[in-house]
């Protein structure tokens, strides 16, 4: 557990060196100073030294998070807008065992270079090291700042899954939105400053679990995410393989239903039922082995014709046979082409119809919404002469009921589904016909070549020999094609078996939720307690309604999200209650909260008197004073409020100067 001991800003201006600093103690304390004092500078300095600038939507090392005056021109005493030559922030952090660190990071200068001094219990510097603020901050074991910080604070480094399926780590800027509430955006929502751009899945939920110390739940979540990514990758591979298998079959004119619909488990179950060669045999009556055997036998028979004794010299049919084969193939090609033309026309018409139906469905859904939400209903008119109400039916018009429109949408969906099926069937048929035509054309080319050879041969024996040679060439070509098919099927079957083996899901390990449940329950208990202590309107108005958390740790009051209960000023109370409850739960359940909470300008969100009074009452309450983690509030208190808090023994930091930054030397602020 750590706490912030102090923040200092120092530098060199054109009129000389300047400095400003605030020291903090443990527990709850309130720094009260007027606007323009430099509270934001101090708060930003803390975030800057912890390398949290990405939380403000900036790139690493971007000093835009600092007030403009601190970056470019300072006001020092009576001198205004003095150019800054160099500046740096120094954050001193104490650990519960008495040791500490002092982090110094340049603001105007090289913000990447952090100088870190490790302090002994007596405050002496034990070691000074240099770190990179942003570059490989977690990955670099030697120079990474966050790597060192996590180790020094005693926070474990945890992996998380990104949307791209790669692993990332949980960074400090992912945890900070739950204990560092900055004044501009921090109050707009729970974890408003969460950094989502790293693409870590469910990072908001993960951050809560991390601070609660629910590492088992975190590991279980990571395991489930890893499994989901593996499954998604596998599904993509199965889909690609399915496409390959369908294409291989379609190239030969066979439309096979080899889809990758459903879960990987479903796909594996479906695809494991039959081998590809079985599909070919059972659905298309094509056995690669038998076909190969038949073609080989035919090739042998044709080769035998070349023996003199096998020729029938009286047989003169070779020429007419070759000619007839060409005629038959041409007729077949013509029939197939006509069929293909018709099928393509049908496919186009079905596609057009499907497009129209899709539009009709969308339009009807809009009509349904239009009616349900009563947008611009004009169905009433009064007769200008008799002032009688005129119905739509007077104009031969009808306004359908929402039930009727819903029924129409259902009917359109059925039609769309049927039409889509027709499109698929027509396209598959077109593909099969194209393949058949290609096959016929190849055969036709062989036959025409054979006919040409036979026609130039003289004598029946030569004609028979020429025809046999051409036939043999065609058969050998066919054998080659069957061999390629067999090879394709073998390779696809092998890939299929590899993938289905990978898809055999590992034994599911039950989720370890017991630890998380206990932590959540404590968190809820504290949350309710702080909401009541802060006077949350929604909770106070419905004291019997239970406060619950959904699976994303969003609080609910009964059936409603707590954020939408109560008044607008309750929003701020919800955020305070949430971050304090997390901190207290972490103390009680040995969680992984770093140890301090910072609330910057809670009053600025709603400066009206009742809101201020409720918050001052909370700060003065025993509940707030017994907070076990360091809680820093940066705000401006009115004199009467200061008196109330002083009476309640709340530690206050009340600066005497107008500005935090002074020309050196300047005073160090201490808690009263």
């Amino acid at each position: 557990m750590i706490s912030i001991s102090g923040i200092e800003i120092r530098g060199e201006s054109e009129i000389g060196p300047f400095w400003g600093g605030v020291s903090f103690g443990s527990g709850l304390q309130v720094l009260s100073a007027h606007n323009g004092y430099g509270k934001s500078l101090a708060v930003t300095g803390i975030a800057w030294c912890l390398g949290l600038e990405k939380m403000f939507g900036l790139q690493g090392n971007d000093i835009a998070c600092f007030p403009l005056a601190a970056r470019d021109g300072l006001n020092l005493g009576s001198a205004a807008n003095i150019p800054v030559k160099s500046s740096e922030a120094t954050l001193t952090i104490g650990r519960s065992d008495g040791f500490g660190i002092r982090i110094t990071r340049p603001i105007v200068g090289n913000p990447e270079a952090i100088v870190l001094e490790e302090l002994a219990e007596n405050g002496s510097v034990q070691r000074t090291s240099k770190f990179h603020a942003q570059s490989f901050t977690m990955k670099d074991d030697v120079g990474g700042f966050q790597n060192f910080l996590f180790r020094w604070v005693g926070l474990p480094r945890e992996q998380a899954m990104t949307g791209l399926g790669t692993t990332s780590e949980i960074y400090l800027e992912n945890l900070a939105p739950l204990f560092f509430i900055e004044q501009k955006e921090g109050w707009t929502d729970l974890q408003a400053l969460q950094v989502y751009r790293y693409g870590i899945q469910q990072i908001a939920d993960i951050s809560v679990e991390y601070l609660l110390g629910a590492l088992e739940a975190l590991h279980d979540r990571f395991r489930r995410q890893t499994e989901a990514m593996r499954e998604a990758g596998l599904k993509a591979s199965l889909e690609a393989l399915g496409d390959q298998i369908r294409a291989t079959f379609q190239r030969r004119g066979w439309a096979v239903d080899w889809s990758a619909r459903g879960s990987t488990k479903d796909i594996v179950a479906r695809w494991s039922k039959r081998k590809l060669t079985q599909v070919l045999e059972e659905d298309f009556q094509m056995s690669v082995q038998k076909e190969m055997g038949r073609l080989r036998e035919r090739a042998v028979a044709l080769r035998n014709l070349f023996g003199r004794e096998n020729l029938d010299t009286t047989n003169t049919s070779a020429s007419s046979d070759a000619s007839q084969a060409v005629v038959d193939l041409k007729a077949q090609r013509h029939r197939l082409r006509e069929e293909l033309h018709t099928t393509r026309s049908q496919a186009k018409e079905f596609t057009d119809l499907a497009e129209s139906l899709a539009h009709r469905i969308k339009a009807s859904q809009d009509v349904l919404r239009f009616k349900r939400e009563g947008i611009g209903r004009l169905d009433h008119v009064e007769c200008p002469t008799c002032h009688r109400s005129l119905e739509l039916s007077t104009f031969d018009l009808t306004s359908q009921s929402t039930t009727s429109v819903a029924a129409h949408i259902e009917a359109l969906r059925r039609d769309f589904s049927l039409t889509s099926a027709n499109v698929e069937t027509a396209q598959a048929r077109a593909m099969r016909l194209s393949t058949e035509i290609a096959l016929i054309e190849r055969q036709l080319m062989d036959r025409e070549r054979a006919l040409a050879t036979v026609n130039v041969a003289v004598g029946s024996a030569r004609e028979q020999l020429a025809k046999a040679a051409a036939d043999l060439s065609a058969v050998e070509g066919e054998i080659d094609r069957i061999a390629v098919l067999a090879d394709d099927l073998r390779q696809l079957q092998s890939s299929l078996e590899t993938l289905t083996a990978q898809a055999a899901s590992p034994a599911e390990t039950p989720a370890q939720q017991l630890d998380l449940s206990a932590r959540k329950s404590t968190f809820l208990s504290y949350l309710q307690s702080f909401l009541r202590g802060l006077g949350h309107g929604g909770v106070m108005a419905e004291p019997d309604e239970p406060v619950t958390l959904d699976e994303h740790y969003i609080p609910y009051l009964g059936p409603r999200r707590l954020r939408s209960s109560g008044s607008a000023s309750d929003h701020c109370r919800l955020i305070v209650a949430y971050v304090l409850a997390l901190a207290e739960t972490s103390v009680e359940k040995s969680g992984l909260h770093p140890g301090f909470t910072l609330l910057d300008e809670p009053f600025q969100q709603n400066p009206d008197d009742p809101h201020r009074d409720l918050f001052i009452s909370f700060l003065a309450s025993t509940l707030a004073k017994t907070l076990r983690y360091q809680t820093l509030v940066f705000t401006f208190l009115r004199p009467a409020e200061i008196e109330r808090l002083k009476e309640a023994d709340v530690r206050l930091i009340l600066p005497e100067n107008d500005h935090l930054l002074q020309r050196i030397p300047g005073p160090v602020l201490q808690p009263s």
Binding site: V367, R369, L378, F395
Partner: protein, 177 residues
């Protein structure tokens, strides 16, 4: 065989029975198309009128009645938009070969005529010669159109309506000649 001309489903059933077919009517599938719904028509008219109407010499928003009828007809049948564009491109040189591209169906769209009659009775629209002009409550149409845009309804219809703003036709063509 006497046919019941008032009930087209019954009529179809009788014809099918006449050739020996067994007729089963699935009442779940009998649902009236939203193409004949008043709300849909009035919404599309609001879109067309707001986008296409121009201000006449008297300061009223005005649109050629035939153009309004054609635009709303095409907007709900976006596949016709392409044909309308090629048809309009030849308005100056009549080509007999293009006669089939003219979406004549819009001329017989009685639902549109009835909807305009209703809107005229409601004083949202008015008729003046060949034009439909804004009535005393014409701003209701602009309000509806604004809501439609804000709620992102009828996106395709609106796209078609806007895309056809650049084409020009003459009144003779709008009579279906």
């Amino acid at each position: 065989m006497a046919l019941d001309l008032d009930d087209p489903v019954k009529m179809l059933g009788e014809i099918l029975r006449g050739i020996g077919a067994t007729v089963t009517v699935d009442t779940n599938r009998l649902s009236r198309s939203t193409l004949y719904d008043f709300d849909y028509h009035s919404a599309v008219i609001a879109c067309v009128f707001t986008e296409h109407a121009t201000v006449d010499v008297e300061g009223r928003k005005s649109i050629i009645a035939g153009w309004l009828k054609l635009m709303q007809f095409v907007a709900v049948r976006p596949r016709l938009a392409e044909q309308v564009v090629s048809w309009s491109a030849n308005r100056l040189t009549y080509q007999a070969m293009l006669w089939h591209r003219i979406p004549r169906g819009f001329i017989g769209d009685e639902t549109h005529d009835a909807t305009v009659d209703f809107l005229v009775a409601r004083e949202i629209l008015d008729r003046y010669q060949d034009n439909v002009v804004g009535g005393t409550q014409v701003e209701l149409l602009a309000d509806i159109y604004a809501r439609i845009c804000r709620d992102n309804l009828f996106e395709t219809e609106r796209e078609v309506i806007v895309s056809l703003k650049s084409i020009r036709v003459n009144k003779t063509m709008l009579r279906g000649a």
